[in-house]
């Protein structure tokens, strides 16, 4: 599904990603953990096509296609989704209109039928049940005045509407209360299928108890220093990151 080879990227001339290698296959769930500022969000935004980041080297294949030959919106229509750590507020554009527009753009790209407002109404009501969102949030402006947790819920609603092949969820769990974490974790699990994949960026093992990863990677200083199974998350929780960094410096953590 996604193959990242020796990816390097910088922002404003400062290198942030310093050689990332990662392969995510269909059906897999990967988690990335790592200290603040290590480049986790950067990796997600580079994959999603944020224009502020410059890809300085390496290659990424998404479903066999050169990801960097596609604009951000093409990547989205091809099935890549990024759930943002800090979703943007867009006043004046109603949430439901935006969701329908995004849905129809993707449907159009895939040669499926677009939904008219009435059909979309039925469709979206099923989806908001999945993320336990109250209906009034559909009529509000996109993310405007939403609390941190409500924005995250809206990100997963967008994911549920777009049904991406690969979803990168950046700190879905930060800002969520305990119930919301469970509801959204379950929603993400229900959206996961054998032909889809997930990349979960997080600081906390708790969300990984619901969305159980096959692999956990430690990203630090723009490199993946260690990859292991899901037990690594708990080990990191107990021991912190220093031992990984030290072992890596000694050349042993891999």
């Amino acid at each position: 599904m996604l193959l990242i080879k020796n990816l390097t990227a910088s922002i404003n001339g400062t290198p942030v990603l310093k050689g990332i290698d990662l392969e995510i296959k269909a059906g897999e769930i990967h988690a990335i953990m790592g200290p603040n500022g290590s480049g986790k969000s950067t990796l997600g935004k580079v994959l999603a096509g944020h224009p502020a980041y410059e890809v300085t080297g390496g290659e990424v294949l998404f479903e066999g296609r050169d990801l960097f030959s596609m604009a951000a919106d093409e990547r989205a229509r091809a099935g890549l989704f990024m759930g943002f750590q800090h979703p943007i507020e867009v006043p004046g554009v109603s949430n439901s209109s935006f969701l329908r527009l995004a849905y129809n753009k993707k449907a159009e790209a895939e040669g499926r039928d677009e939904l008219d407002p009435l059909e979309f109404d039925d469709f979206i009501h099923e989806k908001i049940k999945l993320v336990a969102m109250r209906e009034e949030f559909l009529d509000r402006s996109l993310n405007e005045g939403f609390s941190g947790g409500e924005k995250k819920r809206n990100e997963i609603l967008q994911m549920a509407v777009l049904e991406p092949k690969l979803a990168i969820l950046d700190e879905l769990d930060s800002g969520l209360d305990i119930d919301a974490l469970r509801v959204l974790g379950d929603a993400v699990n229900r959206l996961q299928r054998a032909d889809r994949a997930l990349l979960i960026i997080t600081h906390f093992p708790r969300i990984l108890e619901t969305i159980q990863p096959h692999y956990v990677h430690v990203l630090s200083g723009g490199r993946i220093l260690k990859s292991a199974g899901k037990e690594l998350a708990l080990e990191l929780e107990e021991r912190g990151y220093d031992w990984v960094l030290e072992a890596s410096a000694a050349g042993g953590a891999r």
Binding site: A52, F84, V90, P91, G92, V93, L101, A102, D116, S141
Partner: protein
């Protein structure tokens, strides 16, 4: 008429016609102040960004009566609550007030003699702008709206001022709105037309204690028109006045809203201007916190494209003793071209100490982070840009209470922001 020494042809032309008979003292006072005055120039501080030379060069004549088909301009909820004026004259066949509730007076001025004394009674203590005096001296007709005590009018009222001229004409619509204590009303005031003309409306509003007026003002004059409007609203204790002025048309438009808030009153002066080509839209507002504990909101937004220019000067005065004032003012401007221009300036005069006054001004382009967010959901760059531009404007319409009015206004905004093809409203 009185002899006048005025320098510009415009004023001579406009005042050379006969003075209408009614409201003689109002007209005489206005003429007296006009004597010796000339059009403002860019040397006047309040007009320094707005050059009226083009206006002065046009020979405006009196506007003839005309009949027009107004079916395209009717709003569904206001079919039976509308007064229509064509070229400044009341158009009885185009008007229909059959659904106006009993007790509410909603009449053309020319038939509303009881309004004789109230007209011109909203005084703000400032020397009237020249264009306000021109209106007082020469208005032909307009509307008077009186809502009795405690009556909450369910249907919105619609005022339509249409100007259609083969040769340049000047029109002076006049409106008086009086809400007695506890009354509530929703009013839509619309100005539109075709051809070259000058429209100089004056709207006077008096809101009694605890009364509420919601006032949508839509300026979509012809691209060759000049629109110079005055609004004076006096809000009684705990009354509310909420207005939104939407400027789409006119090669040159200028708005002079003035609001005076009594104790505990609430005032909103929101504005939206969508400008392109060589359009100029100028707003000089005045929010007067005359008494304690009043609240005011101002959100003024402009989208400026081509070589257009937007000017906003927002004066807020907190009078001595007006403690507990809460005044908010925001001027936000979106520049869509390199040659577009915005001049925005808050002007706060605060003579009380226990007050909350906030203001902010921003001029800029679309936010790249917002564009990326939409693109990351599959919208191409053009669609993302158009949707954000639409959203920037539609933000001002969110609080329009009547659904059909909100929808109609959104459609106007959509047509002007290339967002129509997105079908976000269907």
């Amino acid at each position: 008429m009185t002899s006048m020494v005025v320098g510009s042809n415009l004023l001579v032309d406009l005042l050379s016609g006969p003075r209408p008979a009614e409201w003689a003292s109002l007209r005489e006072a206005a003429e007296g102040r006009l004597e010796g005055r000339d059009l403002p120039t860019t040397k006047d501080e309040a007009w320094k960004y707005t050059d009226l030379k083009a206006l002065a060069a046009i020979p405006f004549g009196a506007a003839p009566r005309a009949t027009v088909d107004i079916s395209a301009y009717l709003l569904p909820e206001m079919v039976g609550t509308r007064q229509v004026f064509v070229n400044g004259h009341h158009a009885p066949h185009a008007s229909c007030a059959s659904a106006v509730p009993a007790g509410v007076r909603f009449l053309p001025l020319s038939t509303a003699s009881e309004a004789c004394h109230a007209l011109g009674s909203v005084k703000n203590g400032l020397t009237p702008e020249l264009f306000e005096d021109l209106n007082s001296a020469r208005f032909e007709d307009g509307a008077v709206i009186l809502v009795p005590k405690n009556l909450k009018v369910a249907l919105p009222l619609h005022l339509l001022f249409l100007t259609r001229a083969d040769a340049p004409v000047a029109v002076f619509p006049r409106v008086l709105v009086v809400l007695e204590p506890g009354a509530e009303l929703e009013l839509v005031e619309e100005h539109l037309g075709e051809g070259t003309y000058l429209s100089c409306p004056v709207v006077e509003v008096r809101i009694g204690e605890g009364a509420i007026l919601r006032h949508e003002r839509v300026q979509r004059e012809s691209p060759e028109a000049f629109h110079i409007g005055t609004l004076k609203a006096e809000v009684g204790r705990h009354g509310q006045y909420h207005s939104r002025t939407l400027s789409f048309g006119a090669r040159f438009s200028r708005q002079h809203p003035w609001v005076r808030l009594a104790e505990g009153a609430e005032g909103t002066l929101d504005g939206l201007a969508l400008l392109d080509d060589q359009q100029v839209a100028d707003t000089h507002s005045f929010m007067h916190h005359a008494e304690p504990n009043a609240v005011s909101h101002q959100l003024h937004k402009c989208i400026v494209d081509g070589k257009a220019r937007a000017i906003f000067n927002g004066q807020v005065r907190v009078a001595p003793g007006a403690q507990g004032t809460d005044a908010k003012q925001q001027s936000r401007n979106l520049l869509l071209s390199e040659t577009a221009r915005v001049d925005t300036k808050p002007q706060l005069e605060i003579y009380a100490d226990d007050v909350k006054c906030s203001h902010g001004a921003a001029v800029g382009q679309l936010d790249p982070e917002e564009l990326f967010y939409l693109e990351s959901r599959g919208l191409n760059a053009d669609d993302a840009r158009n949707l954000l531009t639409y959203g920037f404007a539609a933000d001002v319409l969110q609080r329009v209470p009547v659904a059909s009015v909100r929808r109609a206004l959104r459609q106007l905004v959509m047509a002007r922001t290339q967002a129509a093809s997105l079908g976000v409203l269907a």
